[in-house]
Symmetry: C2
Subunit: 198 residues, 2 copies
């Protein structure tokens, strides 16, 4: 009987290698050859699992998104019954590059964004943002309905703005323009303004 190959594990192994290469040396180093060397497999093997660089990049970004979600679940938040301010804060805090793991993910996400900006076909997989926006808008609606949060910009626009703010802050931290603690404090201040009555 031929040996059974765990294709999922192989793809994951290759994607992990890609993430490390992209985070350490940048997008330019993400070639078939470099990724194969980092994963300890042949270039042919990489090509067997990912026919194009777009496919490989898309898979790696999906893997990063899964890491973020796993870390969120592990952190215990956002629990379904957490107060809205805490639930949204726990979620968005995971998107700020405040420690090594999140910095690595942030660099990969940034590299992928730069890549996707010149290849519209590669951009289709950012569907996670829709869900994030919906989650934030729902929590804000709940907080306003309870009278805990002040009225203001309609919830969908407020949610889109808050998510953009966090991504902008992440960019500033990754490029050394803002200290991680400052980004964290800025997110806190904006969450307070949105979710807490003065």
């Amino acid at each position: 009987m031929p040996k059974r190959v765990d294709h999922r594990a192989r793809r994951a192994l290759i994607a992990d290698a890609l993430i490390r290469v992209a985070a350490e040396r940048g997008l330019e180093a993400v070639s078939l050859r470099h990724v194969a060397a980092e994963a300890g497999v042949s270039a042919g093997m990489v090509q067997h699992y990912f026919r194009t660089k777009d496919e490989m990049m898309a898979f790696a970004v999906g893997a990063v998104a899964e890491n973020v979600e796993a870390r969120l679940a592990e952190a215990g938040g956002p629990a379904p019954d957490a107060p809205p301010r805490e639930a949204v804060g726990a979620l968005l805090g995971q998107l700020l590059p405040l420690d090594g793991a999140r910095r690595t993910e942030g660099r990969v996400a940034l590299a992928f964004h730069a890549y996707a900006a010149v290849r519209p076909a590669a951009a289709r997989l950012n569907s996670g943002n829709e869900r994030l926006r919906g989650f934030i808008a729902d929590r804000l609606r709940a907080a306003r309905a309870e009278g805990a949060a002040p009225p203001g910009i309609p919830e969908p626009a407020a949610a889109a703005g808050l998510l953009a703010l966090v991504e902008g802050l992440a960019l500033h931290v990754l490029t050394g323009q803002t200290a991680p603690e400052e980004a964290d404090a800025l997110l806190d201040a904006h969450l307070d303004a949105l979710f807490t009555r003065p």
Copy 2:
């Protein structure tokens, strides 16, 4: 008498070529060879003006920043006596990739950010953001002092947040996650909330 060479013009010619290559084909295509071909000069000439890729990238980003400032001045805003809401809106609108020129610049900026995120030495030139933050904070302070804007988050934090929001929106537009018109409307809604009493 030897022919006098306009070194500034040569550097600008090469930087323009780099900007076009980065905007059209992404950061990976920004090699000495590609930039030389696009500029119609030899690779040796590129190396004469830019010893390293970091230097070339830094110069190109500086050129983009100058383009943005020139367009701002041309648009007539922000005039020193413009109302704060309009002055800040005119400024930040120039950072959203709402037309071809701004999309090109946005792509280059994004490519550079991804590049700088893995090369701390390349990140030092984002000093423009300090000035932008200061400008926004000053305008907000003025609007609050006049009683036109509601109180809220301290001005420096509000300014940093607004700038992060705009950069996040730009990222979403460049990667096809948000339509340009939606980003424009979101910026407007957030400017209204910050600068106008309900």
